[in-house]
Amino acid sequence: MNIFRMTYYLVSISFKDFGFWFWTLCYPLLLTGLFIMATSNMTVGELENIDVGIQEDQELTEVIEEIDFINMTVMSEEEAVSEMKQGDISGYIHGDNTLLVTESGFDQTVLEMVINQIEKVAGSGIPYENYDFEAQFIEENSQEAQPEAVLFYSLIAMIAFYGIFSGIEFMSSMQPNLDPMGARFAASPYSKVKFLSASVLGALILNLATNFLILAVIIILYKINLFTELGPTLGLLFIANLTGIGLGLIIGLLPKINAGMKTTVSVIFIIGLAALSGLMGPFIKIILIENNLTWVNTLNPLARLTDTMYKINFLGNYDDYWATIGMLIGYAAVFFSITLLSLRRKQYDSI
């Protein structure tokens, strides 16, 4: 049987499994619906072109000028008030780093945060020019300003990892020490490399299909434009799918635990990682993790994926795009290598 026939059967097995559809499609759609209800009137778009007025010779002029998403114009207070009334600028910075606004909104929140952040940096003694606003300020604080976006990006990061379920299912059923079907498989001359390739291909087809369905619902049905950079985002999701599948294959290899239990534990594990990456709002990720356990965010592939999707789509910032892709590929490579080495172990101490 060639790889494609094997893939067809593996896909068929999952395709007819209610559990697969529930976890990879129904549950994320349910969450999407809940998020939509909780964040009505959300309009997510790229953070750019916030127009602001600034007093002549104001001390923040040089710093503000360096921030890509702020368009700064030097003007007097009277001019600023007039432009704010006409909606041409969102705020006016003057005096002792004070922000003058005539209405509240997202732009005003971001400007307020920018000024606070600059003052915090100045207070800590770090020269302004050494501070990377794109990497630090925007990643953390603008996620606070737009928690709805973080919810959706972390949800998408989570479903990209749902290839884990197919990985577990395929690998568990082919282990002689876990399933009688595995005895048949292991006693046969079928190539383990072919089986592994078919498993990855099958899981990829299934999970990408469900990912696309969910993205279509978000974009077309709910009309939320989360993806100003669709191509690079899909690239990220493709690699994340591979990582999730690899993780599933490894978990599927674990002895003495059945596939159902492994799936349950994996659901909890992935939800845990997603919560740490912002699924419950950015508070956990930014306040608790970023400030206290930075390494958790660094190692958590879902947090990296969420951040990178947010940055490229919301901020147009590609600084850590390739680093995230590299990290996900690295994880996947480790997972696949371990799986292949374990599959090549053809005899067992107990069955």
Binding site: P176, A183, F185, A187, S188, K346, S350
Partner: protein, 309 residues
């Protein structure tokens, strides 16, 4: 075809195979008999090179077992004790999947799958998923998945457990047909009547050891009880059991319902002696049957316990 010599397999303190030896020749049906937990499945898994064993040698087709030897694997089929079929695939797909692990060519595979479906009588059910099949039909599907690639050597591990009488007969007839086709079958069971009906030779296992092997006749010769006579009398006599046990060549007398079961050593005139005893004591008998020692007797005598203990 198979040579297993002094194989030892331990699970920590438990010895699952204790210097277990046996062999099987081309075209034979060899039964591995023994109670649950005696090591039958462990022996099969060692032969299939799924399990690592501690010492001893196993050769199949004249070659030492090696999990990397795909040429040997290609010639072997396996019907595991538990159902090893996909719930989500239908009958045809299940057989095609497992056949596909051995056969690359799709045309050849299609032909073999059709033959396997015919062989197990599942043609009417080819589009049914296992959930819609009865226990017996699932067992037949389990067998079809193991034989579709026409292996020369087939391991069948308790294939008739929890199967209705009709399906059991179907399966047993199928095994006979496979033997007629020249295949070698290693058949484990704890149903002695099946083994008697099916196997050319039997290996009796207990606690991981081969305690006896041979044809039914050879096994019968190897034990002291050669004949059993069941007799029932019209009138009850409390001393009858003792009097019967004093007859010549009687090994022991046991009660079976209201009758007596007399175990005789191998002698020509055991039944005649009993009839003479009945006549001389003016007894009226209600039942009188004689049979040679069964596998159950053999097992009981060799191990000191019933097979299904």
């Amino acid at each position: 075809m198979i040579m297993m010599d002094g194989v030892v397999k331990r699970y920590n303190e438990l010895i699952a195979l204790d210097h277990f030896s046996f062999n099987a020749q081309d075209g034979e049906i060899v039964g591995l008999l023994g109670p649950n937990g005696c090591g039958k499945t462990t022996a099969i898994n060692c032969m299939l090179s799924l399990l690592r064993f501690d010492s001893g040698d196993i050769e199949i087709f004249g070659r030492r077992v090696d999990s990397n030897n795909n040429d040997v694997k290609r010639r072997i089929g396996i019907v595991p004790q538990e159902l090893a079929i996909f719930d989500k695939l239908n009958v045809y797909e299940n057989i095609d999947f497992y056949c596909g692990l051995y056969i690359q060519n799709s045309k050849e595979r299609k032909k073999l799958v059709e033959e396997a479906i015919d062989f197990v009588g599942l043609d009417k059910y080819r589009r049914f998923t296992p959930g819609k099949l009865s226990g017996g039909l699932k067992r037949r599907l389990n067998i079809a998945c193991g034989i579709a690639h026409k292996p020369e050597l087939l391991f069948m591990d308790e294939p008739t457990v929890a199967v209705d009488a009709q399906s059991r007969n179907f399966i047993l007839e199928g095994v006979k047909k496979m033997k007629a086709d020249g295949r070698t079958v290693i058949y484990t069971t704890h149903y002695l009547e099946e083994a008697e009906q099916l196997c050319d030779r039997m290996v009796i296992m207990d606690q991981g050891r081969n305690i006896a092997q041979g044809t039914v006749g050879q096994l019968q010769e190897s034990i002291s009880t050669q004949e059993r006579v069941e007799v029932g009398f019209l009138t009850e006599d409390p001393g009858m059991k003792k009097r019967l046990s004093e007859l010549p060549h009687v090994v022991k007398v046991t009660n079976k319902n209201d009758n007596y079961l007399i175990h005789f050593e191998k002698q020509e005139n055991n039944l005649a002696n009993l009839i003479k005893f009945i006549e001389s004591n003016n007894l009226t008998y209600t039942d009188l049957t004689s049979e040679r020692a069964t596998l159950s007797d053999i097992f009981l005598e060799l191990t000191g316990k019933e097979l299904r203990d």
